[in-house]
């Protein structure tokens, strides 16, 4: 049995070899901290079958699949990666061959997002670890990607995840990290919308936005896969589609258009100033978004939800008529999604129009019109 007891949290996690365990909690609750502790990269106690794992850790026993597969790959293809691993460990290439199928020799960068995660998971499994740790495996995946990945998740896995509904379909036991404490919870409570809302978790249905009678004032024409659509004042136009369908490319085509402010997926790559105040530039907007106490902080040090707020704040302060959001729900917990809903309503009240790309069904109630890229 793997037992992890992080110094920064109260309580511990236990994982048997024949079960899949889920960890849930809000952004910043300590899910990644816990996983890093299990890898002896944070302070805490880790034991396997009663033996201290962190004394000369043998990483053949614990495998890790991070949220971002791109930074976990050294080889060009899965076959390549297996050959590299075989220079250091005994490797069973049958597992990755089976999990990757015809994609075994396809270059990593040409794989779909679901298969990229399969790539990392299958190469990790090839070493035959006793336990696997997965940090937000379903983040940024569309339905197909999730269904591609789910069957590859095996017993002995500890996974931290925001997408509660999808995760509890594969987990046997569940833990909640709340106020610095690790608590084991019953699966049924994770199906209770009020429990999810109370604990800032995702999975509850979002109340649709009541849109006023739509305005005829056209603010932007946008080309989506060759067809032209017109965005009107006070409208939230959602562009849905699979990973790789061309949603982000559509938004990129708007770069440089006057009156359009685009917020892409990775907030860290979009801060060009030292403080939140310099980024947003408008004290009134900071107050409106409840960010005034963070004005002097570096935006890079904020939680994911707060980073999104800073970017939206700079969009509001720019006085742009149209705000475009690329997968805004990605990496957000339930509380942050509710905040996103409030901010959207605020934007619409101010007469702004919104374009949003998403493959996340949780936030479609925020859309007044949906364009599906098939």
């Amino acid at each position: 049995m793997l037992v992890v007891e992080p110094s920064l949290l109260r309580g511990k996690i236990e994982l048997e070899k024949d079960e899949i365990v889920g960890i849930f909690g809000r952004n910043g609750a300590g899910k990644t901290t816990l996983i890093m502790t299990a890898l002896c990269m944070n302070k805490g106690e880790v034991s396997i079958d009663g033996n201290d794992f962190c004394v000369g850790p043998d990483y053949r026993k614990i495998g890790f699949v991070s949220q971002n597969p791109q930074t976990q790959v050294i080889g060009y293809t899965c076959k390549d990666e297996i050959e590299i691993l075989s220079k250091f460990y005994d490797v069973d290439d049958e597992v990755p061959k089976k999990l990757m199928g015809s994609y075994f020799e396809v270059p990593f960068k040409k794989l779909s997002d679901g298969y990229k995660k399969r790539f990392v998971l299958s190469t990790t499994l090839s070493v035959g670890p006793e336990y696997i740790l997965m940090d937000e495996p379903f983040a940024n995946l569309d339905r197909d990607g999730i269904e591609t990945l789910k069957p590859a998740i095996q017993n002995g896995t500890l996974l931290s995840e925001h997408r509660v509904k999808e995760a509890i379909e594969v987990t046997d036991r569940e833990y909640l990290i709340k106020n610095g404490e690790i608590i084991e919870i019953d699966k049924d409570v994770l199906k209770d919308d009020s429990f999810l809302m109370e604990n800032g978790l995702r999975g509850f249905p979002l109340e649709p936005i009541q849109f006023p009678i739509s305005s005829n004032e056209e603010v932007l024409s946008i080309k989506v896969k060759g067809s032209t659509f017109h965005l009107h004042k006070g409208e939230v136009m959602c562009i849905k589609g699979r990973n790789g369908a061309g949603k982000t490319t559509t938004l990129k085509s708007l770069v440089g258009k006057k009156g359009v402010y685009i917020i892409f997926q990775n907030p860290d790559l979009q801060f060009f100033n030292q403080t939140v105040q310099e980024e947003v530039k408008d004290r009134y907007v900071l107050k409106m978004l409840d960010l005034q106490d963070k004005a002097e902080r570096s935006p890079f040090t904020l939680s994911h939800g707060e980073k999104m707020k800073v970017l939206i704040g700079s969009a509001i302060a720019s006085n742009s008529k149209v705000i475009a959001l690329d997968e805004p729900a990605s990496g957000l917990d339930g509380k942050s999604i509710l905040e996103l809903r409030e901010i959207m309503m605020m934007l619409l009240e101010k007469g702004k129009s919104v374009i949003m790309t998403t493959n996340d069904f949780d936030i479609t109630p925020l859309c007044s019109r949906v364009i599906d890229i098939v």
Partner: protein, 190 residues
């Protein structure tokens, strides 16, 4: 097409030698290994350099421009052609930083391009290096942390491969390419 590090290194030496005799040939020889956009920029830079040097009657210095660009391209070429497994074998598993640097060059390149797109979307001029550097530095630090984890977990076992010097088909193709380029430079020079 991937090839053993030792033969890619050999190709680089041959192209470098070729640049000493005819920089234009070596420059053209490295162009197919650069990305399309990089290649176009390099050709433009060379052209502008030629015009400026011609204006000041210093055409002889143009060979330095071509040689410098060729040397940069040799790095790109090596990253693209080298089979990382061969570096592991040559260094008996001790060249982890080299492996990581070569494996992540495309990742950094693509992310830096993304950052410039985001900067344009914010109306930030691309000469504001102070602004552009901020997300790039954060990216480097974060990626370094992730890579440390990856390398620690994936390559911490005891190396037990072996180095095979016998050239394979791809190795022979690139050696031949290098020899042809050098011969061409020499034949045009003498």
């Amino acid at each position: 097409m991937k090839s053993s590090f030792i033969y890619v290194f050999f190709l680089s030496v041959l192209i470098y030698l070729s640049s000493l005799y005819d920089p234009l040939i070596s420059f053209i020889a490295t162009l197919p290994f650069t990305r399309k956009r990089t290649g176009i920029i390099e050709v433009l830079v060379s052209f502008i350099s030629f015009l400026v040097l011609s204006f000041f009657h210093r055409e002889t210095f143009f060979s330095f421009t071509l040689r410098a660009i060729s040397l940069i391209n040799l790095y790109f070429m090596s990253s693209q052609l080298t089979d990382l497994k061969s570096i592991i074998d040559i260094t008996k598993g001790k060249a982890t930083p080299v492996i990581v640097a070569m494996a992540y060059y495309p990742f950094f390149y693509e992310t830096t391009l993304e950052i410039t797109t985001y900067a344009r979307a914010r109306g930030i001029k691309l000469y504001r290096v102070d602004k552009l550097l901020l997300p790039i530095v954060v990216l480097i630090v974060k990626t370094a942390e992730d890579l440390y984890t990856t390398v620690t977990l994936k390559l911490s076992g005891k190396y037990r491969g072996n180095f095979d010097i016998m050239p394979r088909r791809n190795d022979i193709i690139i050696i031949a390419y290098g020899v042809v380029i050098l011969c061409l430079s020499l034949s045009l020079r003498f």
